[in-house]
Symmetry: C2
Subunit: 159 residues, 2 copies
């Protein structure tokens, strides 16, 4: 079964996008993202996306703005054409994890204020301090984890 089964692809897009939406990404961006993942060269125009997903161009516009902001999709315009093509980056998962890490890094401020407000010596203060330490630990471990992923991936696919 190396043939592309369009109907099954549609099903896949909807299912995986739904699963993805549950982790926090808004629904429409998730659908557009998965649609791009499922495209052979990972590039589609706004019109193609609108047609495939059966939504208005306006919906695509909003979704794509979100996806470019979170840095998993790039917008390109072939010079001499008037339509944009959107492309998923190769290292999307690397980027996605990196992004989540940055989000958690921004929790540091609020957490430190919390420790202060609770009192560093109190049980609650210590619990929040442990929370902070956990996120800092993960943050510190991430680079080596991503390195190992790249090595692992190269072994699997490029050799």
């Amino acid at each position: 079964m190396t043939e592309r089964d369009d109907q099954a692809v549609l099903r896949f897009i909807e299912r995986f996008a739904s699963a993805f939406a549950e982790t926090g990404m808004p629904r429409m961006p998730a659908r557009v993202f998965v649609a791009l993942l499922a495209d052979d060269d990972g590039t589609m125009t706004a019109a193609e996306l609108a047609d495939l997903l059966q939504v208005s161009p306006a919906a695509i516009s909003g979704a794509v703005r979100y996806l470019t902001q979170v840095n998993v999709v790039s917008r390109e315009r072939e010079s001499g054409s008037r339509r944009d093509v959107f492309r998923v980056y190769d290292d999307v998962w690397y980027e996605a994890i990196f992004r989540r890490d940055q989000m958690m890094a921004r929790w540091g401020g609020p957490l430190k204020e919390g420790i202060c407000a609770l009192g560093p010596g109190t049980p609650a203060g210590r619990r929040i301090a442990e929370t902070l330490a956990f996120f800092e630990f993960v943050h510190a471990e991430l680079p080596s984890l991503l390195d190992r992923w790249r090595t692992h991936r190269d072994r699997l696919f490029n050799s």
Copy 2:
């Protein structure tokens, strides 16, 4: 500054809960969760929570059901009392990560179907296969990461 500053604690609860809600947890469960984290012995009754967060008992009921289902809070009843006490588990972060991992594990099925539908030999099929490989890699790395966290934590706090 080891005094507890109630107003600042409230601010902390709201801020951190908001940040947390952005990662996918519904707003009210996030508020209840952080409120419990900020409590010295990590236990509060429904009435205390309702009063602290200024919401109805019904809202607490729903939030707590969610939190017990995702396994970060336990419900206890002191025998000889008619009110429940809720407690955050000690290893919440361990649990939270574990849970997220389980969620990603459930993506395996849809992803495999997707590879099939796209054709394993196609570029899109290979892209999805790489996605699957990434999640499997993280899944495999997780136990050792969590082990290292516990070691690290013990060094920081228990020695």
